[in-house]
């Protein structure tokens, strides 16, 4: 397939996933803000959502760090390249630039999402009923992945789409966990108290993993297990381990399809082994924040290596 098409497919799915994860980040901020303040009450959930989204630098330093302003920035701002609106605009532009590489059903999912999001009524919904708006965004992501799953040929294009999804999802799960870091006072001092547990379950909830967690671990909400579920547990669909496993698998499929293994395949396997060989105690001991930062850097490098290999490689 055309290198440009592969590039578009990869970014298309990244943008859809990013939009959905922006919504998940907001869901977390929204729920955490409903908890009574800890300590001197100087915390700001919405500031941590901004930090974790990676968009803090673009936010007007004089604007209040309240739900309405921050959510508006994360959803509708044209200046914020990762705003949900810009994500859907970019996804649809990518789709339009390679209409022949996606199915009519996928196109309709993306096209309708953007058309609806551009309606003025969506501003009111986001303002008056943020949880409902967040659900809407999550549904658009599900629609896109669902139509992809049920209509797209399982050729190399499918692999590029899935690579985009899991690279972005891994990045975003790491970010979700990091909100917790930003909100929480030094991790060890508070572990186990009521607020702390509530915050950890909020992370789970934003990852749509509350029930899944119960099934896997039964009743215990320890931070240790929640972090394990989202980082190392290969059965959790949003865990770093699962994303990494999927990335490895789709790269393997490409290697088979093209009959050629490249350095990027080794890098992916290495990242996956790093996750399967870590244990949670070690991660907490050396610092969760540092671990997540390292992971994100590796993930970014892998994304660049995929581009290098398939978009410009050998030409």
């Amino acid at each position: 397939m055309l290198s440009r098409t592969a590039d578009n497919l990869f970014w298309l799915s990244r943008y859809v996933e990013r939009a959905e994860n922006m919504a998940r980040l907001m869901e977390m901020g929204y729920r955490m803000a409903m908890m009574p303040a800890v300590g001197d009450g100087n915390r700001s959930e919405w500031e941590s959502v901004l930090s974790a989204s990676g968009c803090h630098a673009g936010y007007d330093p004089n604007a209040p760090l309240r739900q309405e302003e921050v959510a508006n920035f994360l959803i509708f701002s044209r200046e914020n390249p990762s705003s949900i609106l810009n994500c859907f605009e970019a996804a649809r532009a990518s789709a339009r630039a390679m209409r022949t590489a996606i199915t009519a059903e996928m196109w309709e999912a993306l096209n309708n999402a953007l058309m609806e999001l551009r309606r003025p009524s969506m501003h009111n919904l986001a303002k008056n009923d943020l949880p409902e708006f967040i659900d809407w965004v999550k549904r658009q992501g599900s629609l896109f992945r669902g139509t992809t799953d049920s209509t797209l040929l399982r050729n190399d294009g499918y692999d590029f789409i899935r690579l985009g999804t899991f690279i972005e999802r891994a990045d975003n799960t790491a970010r979700l966990l990091d909100v917790k870091y930003y909100v929480l006072l030094p991790e060890t001092s508070m572990v186990g108290d009521g607020v702390d547990n509530y915050q950890w379950t909020t992370v789970l909830r934003a990852a749509s993993s509350l029930r899944a967690f119960h099934w896997v671990y039964r009743d215990d909400y320890s931070p240790y297990r929640i972090a394990h579920f989202l980082i190392l547990n290969p059965f959790s669909p949003r865990s770093l381990a699962h994303c990494s496993e999927q990335i490895t698998q789709h790269l393997e499929r490409l290697a088979r399809h093209y009959g050629q293994r490249r350095p990027v395949h080794g890098e992916a396997v290495e990242m996956y082994s790093m996750l399967t060989q870590s244990d949670m105690e070690e991660i907490f001991a050396t610092g969760l924040h540092g671990f997540l930062n390292d992971f994100q850097a590796r993930n970014r490098a892998l994304s660049a290596a995929i581009a290098e290999t398939y978009y410009f490689g050998g030409q």
């Binding site: 397939m1 290198s3 440009r4 630039a97 209409r99 022949t100 190399d156 093209y258 050998g314 030409q315």
Partner: protein, 467 residues
């Protein structure tokens, strides 16, 4: 004015079944269907951008539900006439880039060809595969009476609109399955297949395998982008931009995830001026540097061939009947509209004296821009236009204001006649192919004769009935 559906208060034969159905259904059902159709178009994303308006780059082209219908007999005549024209135009193109016999014979003036902006000295003496230059000829036809068809212009470069022919039919079949079951309407869906066969048949000499074909588009911002991607998809070939292609060792390649892949036939939807910055406009970022060298050495085929535009110039148009006589030894089956060439002093005098009755066009214009429709213009507009003509008479032609036929069309006040034209798409390769159908364009405004989609025109499905 000839109403294609009704003559002397009688419904004409080809429309009878449709009218019965419409009367049986009633206006509510039709209105419902009309809304459904619009939703379908919006969903599929069939759009047409209008340049220079700064509005929605993905505007919907108005689609009218009521089809335009030809009998099998009417179509047979059109078909023969269009094929004849396509053959003559291609023979003319080969001639002017080789021995120029038609100029030596004194039939077409040399200046008109060799000083024409669309004439490409870069391809003089080159033999394109099968000696074909214009592989897709869009012939714009108007009707003024039951037996009276005129060719308004030829489009030899990259005529657009065929995706509407195909999508209009898709939508109509989805909305009116019963009509399609009970009437016998020629299918048009073979067009993409025919196009692919045509493109394969013009593979260059150096191609020693099943040719690799691509559609070259200027990109998603182009007004006809939907059509480019639609055709590539229907044929199952890659849709590429200039940046995806490069020249190496005398061949053209595209950048793929597997590495470079050779390309043999390029169906380009960008103008000559932009296809190769080394040969034509050096500021073009849409083209492929070195493409023309590969083309000249037989390493790649380009559809339409560079230089094909010289045959569809509005001044050259006036000589097409002579071409048919000269090259084919036949009388033209389809007539030209009588045309005054302002470059000729006598014609110029007549045109200036009768501006109020005529339609005046720029020779190199297209898309309905920059024309004067005499009967619909004000005195001031006519005076201003006369100044433009006098400044450069050779740039203008004039034609009588034809009483274009009208077809019943949905408008705000209900169903009313609106003027239509017709563009069939003739394919020229190893043989000449023509799908039984074409694009009917309709002027949505009452009395308007301008059917161009860039000027608010709409489209209709076109039905050719079988015997």
């Amino acid at each position: 004015m000839f109403n294609e559906m009704k003559m002397d208060d009688q419904v004409r034969e080809p429309y009878r079944a449709l009218v019965e159905w419409m009367e049986a259904s009633g206006p509510e059902v039709l209105e419902q269907k009309r809304l459904e159709a619009e939703t379908l178009f919006r969903k599929i994303g069939i759009t047409f951008a209008v340049y220079g308006e700064g509005g929605d780059p993905e505007r919907l082209i108005p689609f009218d539900l009521i089809p335009r219908i030809f009998t099998a007999g009417e179509w047979r005549k059109l078909e023969r006439g269009v094929k004849q024209r396509a053959r003559a135009l291609n023979t003319f193109l080969y001639d002017v880039y080789h021995n120029a016999e038609i100029i030596k014979a004194g039939i077409v003036p040399a200046d008109l060809v060799f000083k024409n902006a669309a004439f490409e000295p870069a391809v003089i003496g080159i033999d394109p595969p099968r000696k074909v230059y214009s592989h897709i000829v869009g012939v714009d036809i108007v009707r003024t009476g039951p037996e009276d068809f005129y060719v308004l212009e030829d489009n030899c470069r990259t005529p657009s609109g065929v995706s509407y022919m195909l999508e209009n039919r898709e939508i109509m079949m989805r909305m009116f399955p019963d009509l399609f079951k009970s009437l016998r309407i020629e299918p048009v869906e073979s067009y993409p297949d025919m196009l692919l066969k045509t493109l394969k048949s013009i593979a260059p000499d150096k191609c020693d395998r099943d040719p690799n074909i691509v559609v070259l588009t200027p990109g998603a911002m182009n007004s006809a982008y939907y059509e480019h991607s639609f055709l590539a998809d229907q044929m199952g070939v890659e849709l590429v931009e200039g940046q995806d292609l490069f020249v190496s060792d005398g061949r053209v390649y595209m950048r793929t995830t597997r590495g470079p892949e050779r390309v043999d036939v390029i169906y380009r939807r960008i103008d000559d001026d932009y296809i190769d910055p080394l040969c034509f406009r050096s500021d073009s970022v849409l083209g492929i540097p070195g493409l023309m060298n590969v083309y000249r050495s037989g390493g790649v085929a380009i559809c339409s061939a560079p230089g094909a535009g010289v045959a569809d110039d509005k001044a050259v148009y006036t000589y097409v009947p002579d071409m048919i006589r000269f090259y084919l030894g036949q009388e033209p089956i389809l007539n030209n509209v009588p045309t005054w060439k302002c470059g000729k002093p006598d014609d110029l005098k007549y045109v200036l004296e009768n501006l109020g009755e005529l339609v005046v066009k720029e020779v190199h214009g297209s898309g309905g821009y920059g024309m004067l429709v005499g009967p619909a213009s004000t005195k001031e507009e006519q005076v201003a236009y006369a100044q433009r003509i006098k400044a450069d008479p050779g740039d203008f032609i004039a034609q009588p204001t034809l009483a274009l036929s009208a077809c019943p069309t949905f408008v705000e006040s209900g169903i009313a006649p609106r003027h239509v034209d017709f563009r069939p798409f003739c394919l020229v390769g190893d043989t000449i192919r023509l799908a039984p159908g074409g694009l009917t364009r309709v002027a949505m405004r009452e009395g308007s004769l301008v059917v161009n989609s860039s000027q608010g025109g709409g489209v209709k499905d076109t039905w050719i009935m079988t015997d």
